[in-house]
Symmetry: C2
Subunit: 297 residues, 2 copies
């Protein structure tokens, strides 16, 4: 199958590499240095214990999406509207479009821009870029995708490529659950530039996270979303299993890049205001992250 | 009059110098480098447009308090209990003890340690240390003191020394009003290491400050305190009149010193918990300040 990946970050490169490795024709749209490296040597898929170069096509322009039967949309939430407008001329009504992004409203926002349905995908993977054209896989990799006429076809393509896929009626709830974890940790790690294991040792930090999560759950409820699983249990576990981890927001700020905070705590604040649900903790975490973001910029 | 100043920081040095200049016998208890400079050259009282050396006695030990008829207690809130225990052996029941400190419970805590009454004082002055034995006066200087049998005598001593004094039945409320300003600004400036004028330009920051202030006012009410004046108006004014100012908490953190945050937002959180009043914004500001404090330490 001809597949395009819009956004050659760590998530896009990982899934693009897994699909190319399984024999699909994969084009990744990304920045010049990555594209050049991928076109020169292939994409280096690095499992730590083993590495392999996978043959893919890199393109710096959205025109590379042309002819793709499936598009994995993997840009940051801040870039959804702009990147959506870029691919719109090069997709057809038959193109299957998947949003593999953080936050809960990207599929909806993207769908609005491109004028056709987008399947929301919850991504559970730990990856990072090791350099130009070099993606590192640290763990997991499974996807939960929303229901649609095309979802079974998507699963049938991805599963043989060793990408576990579950089609869930409540993918939206799973997206929320993931976002709520992000709302608990990302800002705290970003504002202080400290890893999860250190954060949770701070005075009152568990109370702050509990308040943030309770506000998120109230907003989810107000939105009619049922958040599956034991969110708080998952949050407690993260501090134990990933004590040295810095949030993606912390990494963005450290690099002077805009973060996704407007689509995490910022989203909760906006939705809370719409619904009349108080979100003082998320408001404070969002405001402080934005202050730190503009400082480092 | 023989007067001792416990804590030769910027506030203690300023009032000590004003009293010594008016002819009183003033001893300041402080750190070795300040004490040495004061004993060598006198205390340099620097008004910007004019400077003068004032003759005082410096001492690194609380024994220097011996024989004082009045003690100005000017240590940080974090040091109240320890410094109170240090002066206790050297004061008598007749010694007038004034607490010139931030926070609202220092007079009470000090009184408990030394076993005699302490007059709470609200300090409105802008001063800073310009080096060892060198205090800079930037503006104001007036005091509001609580009522007591000795308060009139205190005023009669201070006013001729060009220290404006008002005796107020609601000195406690004035202390709260000052603390609430600190609760609005200090943590935000400390966490981000940015001055007031930049902070208030951040997304949602006025809402964060409004929430923090509303929580403080609710706790004040729960404590039976009437906060005088237009607190919110004063807060809006600070950003205009002192845009380049960093909070004392920000300065402490930048120097790797413990801050007074446990006696500002932290006090609101503790009192709120006692009274069953939610304080999520102050909790978040306090927790983040403590995280930044332990990072810089």
């Amino acid at each position: 199958m001809k597949i395009a990946v819009m956004g050659a970050g760590a998530v896009g490169c990982y899934y693009g590499a897994m699909l190319a490795r399984a024999g699909h024709d994969v084009t990744l749209i990304g920045r010049p240095n990555h594209v050049e490296a991928m076109n020169r040597n292939g994409l280096l898929l690095d499992f730590g214990s083993s590495q392999e170069y996978v043959s893919v096509t890199g393109d710096t322009d959205a025109v590379g999406v042309t002819g793709a039967e499936m598009v994995l949309f993997c840009v940051k939430s801040t870039d959804t509207v702009e990147a959506g407008a870029q691919i719109k001329p090069f997709i057809s009504p038959d193109t299957i479009v998947l949003s593999l992004q953080n936050g809960v409203d990207n599929a909806e926002r993207l769908s609005h821009v491109i004028g056709q349905p987008v399947i929301p995908v919850v991504v559970y993977v730990a990856t990072s870029m090791g350099g130009a054209g070099h993606v590192r896989h640290h763990g997991r990799g499974e996807l939960v995708i929303g229901p649609s006429a095309q979802s079974q076809a998507v699963a049938d393509t991805l599963i043989p490529a060793r990408i576990p896929v579950e089609i869930s009626e409540n993918a939206e709830g799973a997206l929320w659950a993931k976002m709520i974890l992000n709302c608990a940790y990302n800002a705290l790690s970003a504002i202080t530039q400290r890893p999860y294991g250190e954060i949770v040792q701070g005075v009152g930090v568990w109370d702050v996270m509990r308040n943030a999560v309770d506000e998120c759950l109230a907003v989810a409820k107000g939105c009619g979303v049922t958040v599956p699983g034991d969110v708080w249990g998952a949050i407690e576990k993260i501090a134990e299993t990933m004590p040295g981890q810095y949030s993606s927001t912390a990494q963005d700020l450290a690099r002077g890049k805009p973060s996704e905070i407007d689509f995490l705590n910022g989203y909760i604040v906006r939705k809370g205001a719409e619904l009349g649900i108080p979100t003082p903790t998320n408001l404070t975490l969002h405001a402080l992250t934005k202050l730190q973001e503009t400082k480092s910029a």
